[in-house]
Each structure stands twice: as structure tokens, then as C-alpha cells.
Symmetry: C2
Subunit: 222 residues, 2 copies
């Protein structure tokens, strides 16, 4: 099992609201775009504009984590990128496991965006013996019975669940037993997990429902 | 172009916060599970427990949309399902287009959860001439030049963008020009869209960043 370093914690004050942390990811994404375009500095106004937020919102969000701007200069892109990566914990590489090597698992194994942000999928697992031993996008597919051993050996703390809804809770429990601390769940069920294990659910039908609500109710964009 | 019926709007009071609408989708999902298990009625306590919310939260969320419970009975599952579907606009079938028939597009075309919630993918579009004319999961792949014609013919108002980041804005503008009103965007960029067009972004790397933040900062679950 990986040793957990208490000093790895990046936020010393109260933990900011989830919405702030999720906007931090959006700022990071836009900063990467700016850096790729050769821009060395930016401002809360520019960052806000790129995302449809006010400059005050950007400044307030970043103020949760420290003082990053320079008077008369704004933010130095590279420096702010480094700071946000440290806060999000992506200034390191995270080995990640995927459970379920079906259609969705395949697509996720081929998704390049993960590695760019520091997430490296190192192992896939599937209940189907016909899948075990295959390589998908050069990632080996293992049997579920090898899960605990490989989570330990590879230092895996995050896992992606891409199995059918009916199998997801059992798989999540196997992940928890193996020592995984964070689960990105694509199965359309709410997982019941111990307090120390975090889950983020991505239910694609729910995302579409939010859209149909907005369209039907002609909701103004926020 | 589809005629928009002003009477389709399901919410008459002020539009509730996004978080409430997104919890409505979660209630609907759990109600479907209860119905599948043969349960005819439920309570705010049970629904809350399934999702890790308080019963007060459940009651407050539903109160935005009307009065659904019966004293001494609770909620009738079938009735509450119908009411939530009407509010979300999924008491009808929505024809949906997917742009991008790559790995992710393939996975989404095979995703059964969409149809169960009333979203029927009726057409895929791809810029690659080698893909055009194929069928994926029995859905035909069309050329981008046929987009406007088919959006009109098939009455498509919602589309899923599963193209690389660099192509997403151009594709989104083509969708808007064709009359699409809602976009589920999987490309890792923020789309710039006119006010009447809604977008929901799903950036898978961002979801993982939220997890790594939670794990590194030992955030208590909310």
C-alpha cells in the first residue's frame, strides 16, 4: 500500500467549495491554451472572458489558495499553472486503473487528455476471461482477481469504473478493499462508499437531461 | 426548423438553481431503480438515504416544482417519475445528433442509458470521408455537409460534440447555424455560443482532477 504523506495537502485553510475547485480546473485548461499560444502573462479579465466569468469571480476563486498576481503584470501563466497543478495534486503523475474494457472503457483508454493532465492509465481490468491478456492502446487487461495485487504494486490510488450499473457497487467495494481512494464512476448508479473514499459520478444521460431542461425552460445562461 | 412551443415550459416560477435541477436527475434515477424493484411508494428519507442527502434537502428541492407527496403515503414512484420527466422535458423523445465518430463517438453511440431516458441518437456526422456511409450501432454516419438538412428533417435540437478540441468551436458554430439549441460538449475547450444555445461540458480530465484534489486534501465528503 502506498504511504500517504500528510504534507501532500496543498490547501491549508478551510477546504473551498466544490464549485471553486472545479473552476480551478477550467482556469488551468485555459492557461494551458494561452501557454501553447506563446502568451507569458494573463489577467483575471482575460481568463474570465475565456470562460464567461467576471474578473471578480476569477480573483475571488484564486484568492482561496493564495496571492498569485503581480501589480501591473497580472498572472504569469507558467507560474499560475504550476500553482494550480500543485493545488489540484496534478504536479505529479497518478497511475490510474480502469475497470471494464467494454465500449466505454475502450474509448477512455484511448483518451489522450488524461495523460496530458498527469493521469496515466496503467492497467485495465475486466470480468470477461476473453478480454484478459489483451492489450488496448498498449494497456494490458487483467483479471479482477489480480486487482489487489496490482493496485499495491503499481501504487494506484485512483480508478475509473466503466462497468454496467448492476456490477458497479461490487466493483467499487473491490477497489476500496484494494486500497483505492478515489473513483470516477461512469455507471448510472450512486455508489455507497466509506467516508475516506471519494467518488465523482459522470452520468451521461443526466448531462443530457440538464440540457433538455435548459432548452425546454429557455433558461438564461448563468 | 422545429417550431418552439411556448407552452412546453414546465417551470412557471423562477428557474431553480442548476444544482437543484441536477439533483432532480438523481432523484429520477433512484425512482427508476425503486420502480424496477417493484416499490410503489417512497419517502424523502429513503430517497435522501440512497443519495447521501438529508430528507429536508429532498423535500426542499422538489418543492421548487410543486407538491408531490401525500400525507401518510409519501411519494408515489410512478407519479413522481412522470412529474420529474415532465419538468426535465424527457416525457418526450429527443432526437440527438453526435458529431465525431471516433473512439468516444463510438462508445457514446453504443451507450444504452441515453435511450432509456428519452434521448435517441438518430444521426452521426464525421469529417472523415472514410467514415461517411458507415453504420455504427445501426446509426448512419453522414458528411458534415448534410448537417443542416438532417437537423431540419429529423427535428434535432440537441447534439453531442465528440471531436478533438481544435475542431470543437467550428463544429459548434455549424450546429448553431443548423438550429441546434443544446450541446453536450466532450471536447476539452470552452465553447463560445450565442445566448439562446446551451452547452454542458464534460471534460473527463477535469473530473479526475477533482478527485485528485479530494484525495490529496483529504476533503470530507459533502
Amino acid at each position: 500500500m502506498t504511504e500517504h504523506d500528510p504534507k501532500e495537502r496543498a490547501v491549508n485553510g478551510p477546504i473551498p467549495p466544490k464549485a471553486v475547485v472545479s473552476r480551478l480546473s477550467l482556469y488551468l485548461r485555459e492557461l494551458h491554451h494561452l501557454e501553447r499560444d506563446g502568451q507569458e502573462t494573463t489577467s483575471s479579465t482575460q481568463l474570465g472572458k475565456m470562460l464567461g466569468f467576471t474578473d471578480a469571480q476569477v480573483r475571488k476563486d484564486l484568492a482561496y489558495f493564495g496571492q498569485f498576481g503581480y501589480p501591473g503584470i497580472g498572472y504569469r501563466c507558467e507560474e499560475l499553472i504550476e500553482a494550480i497543478r500543485r493545488i489540484l495534486g496534478t504536479n505529479r503523475s497518478w497511475p490510474v486503473a480502469i475497470i471494464g474494457a467494454g465500449n466505454l472503457g475502450h474509448a477512455l483508454l484511448g483518451y489522450r487528455g488524461f495523460r496530458q493532465q498527469g493521469f496515466e492509465i496503467v492497467a485495465a481490468f475486466d470480468a470477461d476471461p476473453g478480454q484478459v491478456g489483451n492489450r488496448i492502446e498498449s494497456i494490458p487487461v487483467y483479471a479482477m482477481s489480480d486487482l489487489a495485487k496490482l493496485v499495491d504494486q503499481l501504487g494506484i490510488r485512483l480508478a475509473i469504473v466503466a462497468v454496467p450499473g448492476a456490477a458497479a457497487q461490487v466493483v467499487a467495494e473491490q477497489l476500496v478493499a484494494a486500497g483505492v481512494e478515489g473513483i470516477l464512476n461512469f455507471a448510472p448508479v450512486t455508489l455507497s462508499l466509506p467516508a475516506h473514499v471519494h467518488a465523482v459520478g459522470v452520468d451521461l444521460a443526466i448531462e443530457l437531461e440538464q440540457l433538455s431542461f435548459a432548452v425546454v425552460n429557455k433558461r438564461d445562461k448563468q
